[in-house]
């Protein structure tokens, strides 16, 4: 097996795809983010039970390849308990890191994030890595958390 492929399917990614973090639909959901790739059919729902300032009670469910599943699992694990501002900053950094706009030494990234550096040898898999992150960033930017929370 080639080294680049081993790097793509790093131990962290394999572990997250085999035993994803918070992989269930919780009883109470305030907001649902739908991440869908019509080209391959990967489909995840990320469930949020946040208040105005914090991104809390994150869960997800759905179907996708090992890369998109691990990436969504790491999204949930990473953003859980962060403020909206921090979560948005992390989404932005992750997207820019994958898109090679920022190097690994320019961003405050955890080992979980760096596990995805192997995808740089497989540009056709960028969409798998970014699927849920793009939708989460869009959601956070839309301010939907705050709006929805105010209504409740």
């Amino acid at each position: 097996m080639k080294d680049d492929l081993k790097k793509l399917y790093s131990a962290i990614i394999k572990e997250h795809s085999a035993t994803p973090f918070h992989f269930e639909k919780p009883g109470k959901v305030k907001n649902t983010i739908k991440a869908y790739n019509p080209i391959c059919g990967d489909r995840f729902e990320v469930y949020i039970g946040s208040d105005e300032r914090m991104v809390n009670a994150l869960y997800f469910h759905g179907y996708g390849c090992a890369i998109s599943k691990a990436s969504t699992s790491i999204l949930v694990k990473t953003l859980e308990g962060k403020s909206r501002k921090e979560a948005l900053e992390l989404c932005d950094q992750f997207l820019r890191f994958i898109n090679k706009e920022l190097g690994s030494n320019e961003v405050m990234l955890s080992d979980d994030f760096l596990a995805f550096s192997g995808v740089h040898d497989f540009p056709e898999r960028y969409d798998c890595v970014l699927l849920s992150w793009r939708e989460m960033k869009r959601f956070l930017e839309s301010g939907a958390v705050a709006t929805k929370t105010r209504r409740h």
């Binding site: 097996m1 080639k2 680049d4 492929l5 793509l8 399917y9 394999k14 080209i39 391959c40 059919g41 990967d42 489909r43 179907y63 996708g64 390849c65 090992a66 890369i67 599943k69 497989f122 056709e124 898999r125 798998c128």
Partner: protein, 403 residues
């Protein structure tokens, strides 16, 4: 002269440029033989001129070569009249011409169009859209768990309000070969015209359009060793006068006044604008290539590769074919345990094995089979047992990696 199967790989230049390539995605697009590539470059280098326009020798020659391909297509599909053959951009455009240029004007609220659940999106969406625009409904023939059409209720599904049946000859996902003759006969008993999507079959399987008595046949050159961007619409004589063009422009006309245009007859009325002349000439070269092959021999050969692959898949233990049609071509969809098809395809790609993963533009079929995505291999005449062996060996390694 029949080309010997053993030497066929060498007819396709891509394999001399990329000797390591194991290409198992011919259902998406086939590779092109040297003769087709040469015919296209020769045209541009030595014969380039517009057709149906010039009075000089070069243009007359281009016109003759372009029109001669209608005769070649006629012979390939077992038709008798070259005037039944229109050149299009591909199977998708051909279907859209029938949907919008023929069916829509005959479709009223309460009418229906009968398709099957195994259709490629290109033989589904055009009908779905004209139904939506006119208030007609889409009736659907289901498949069983083996991926075969369930025709028990065909006679009920074909009713007084059915205006067209559109069915694929060979499924691009499961490889199932459909009993098109039986479907056409049943529809014709009720005077319902039938369109056959031959995208996966023309050039690979014997087509006898006259014997089948199909009313329309559509296919693309690029899936049968020809160039991209060229396709065919066959339309039986009795419908020819009822087909309106989708595109209007230069060509395709008898007379133009500011207030009125008189169009040429089918097929020329559909070919407005400068034609893809090199594409059509490339299609002609592809047909010449195909006619040097013994089609019974090639289908037996690709069938053997499929069988060899299925044996290997079974030997893996966790390999499962999706669908198991009794009458099947050289297209196989499968899954490996719970490993996502994209992870399988990505793994194979790193060993230079090109396969397709996803829903293959047939989402309703996959939904009815209860799977979100599959891995698909499709075999052609340039594949070898060694290609199959390498693929199975890579799948064994994949299994180890994910265990």
């Amino acid at each position: 002269m029949t080309l010997p199967l053993k030497s066929l790989k060498s007819c396709f230049p891509i394999f001399s440029h990329r000797p390591e390539l194991v290409y198992l995605d011919s259902a998406a697009t086939s590779q092109k033989p040297q003769s087709v590539v040469r015919a296209i470059t020769d045209f541009y280098e030595k014969e380039n001129a517009n057709v149906h326009r010039g009075l000089y020798e070069l243009s007359t020659h281009a016109t003759q070569r372009y029109e001669a391909v209608r005769n070649k297509v006629t012979s390939l599909i077992g038709a008798s009249n070259p005037k039944t053959i229109a050149f299009t951009k591909g199977a998708t455009e051909s279907i859209n011409i029938i949907a919008h240029g023929y069916l829509k004007k005959n479709l009223k609220k309460g009418d229906n169009v009968l398709i099957s659940v195994m259709e490629h999106h290109s033989n589904l969406i055009p009908w779905q859209q004209v139904c939506e625009e006119t208030g007609a409904t889409l009736e659907v023939i289901p498949v069983n768990e083996d991926g075969e059409l369930v025709l028990k209720k065909l006679n009920t599904q074909l009713n007084q309000r059915t205006r067209l049946v559109a069915i694929t000859h060979i499924s691009n996902v499961l490889g199932a070969i459909n009993p098109v003759e039986e479907i056409i006969a049943a529809a014709h008993k009720k005077n319902i015209p039938v369109l056959i999507d031959g995208a996966q079959s023309v050039g690979h399987y014997p087509i006898e359009i006259k014997k089948w008595d199909a009313d329309f046949l559509v296919f693309s050159a690029h899936k049968m060793f020809g160039p991209l961007g060229t396709g065919v619409l066959y339309c039986k004589e009795e419908f020819a006068a009822q087909i309106s063009p989708l595109n209007y422009g230069g060509g395709g006309i008898k007379n133009v006044e500011l207030s009125n245009t008189v169009f040429l007859d089918y097929p020329h009325n559909l070919e407005a604008g400068t034609a893809n002349i090199a594409g059509v000439i490339g299609l002609g070269a592809a047909i010449d290539f195909i006619q040097q092959l013994d089609m019974n021999e090639t289908t037996r050969y690709t069938g053997e590769l499929s069988t060899y692959f299925l044996e290997g898949l079974r030997s893996l233990g966790n390999g499962r074919r999706v669908g198991n049609p009794k009458n099947s071509g050289s297209i196989i969809s499968f899954q490996i345990g719970s490993i996502h098809p994209h992870d399988v395809a990505g793994f194979l790609a790193s060993s230079n094995i090109a396969v397709r993963a996803g829903h293959h533009c047939a989402q309703p079929l996959l939904e009815s089979m209860g799977v979100p995505a599959t891995v698909r291999v499709s075999f052609s005449i340039y594949n070898t047992r060694d290609d199959v062996y390498k693929t199975i060996a890579a799948l064994v390694e994949l299994k180890k990696f994910w265990s």
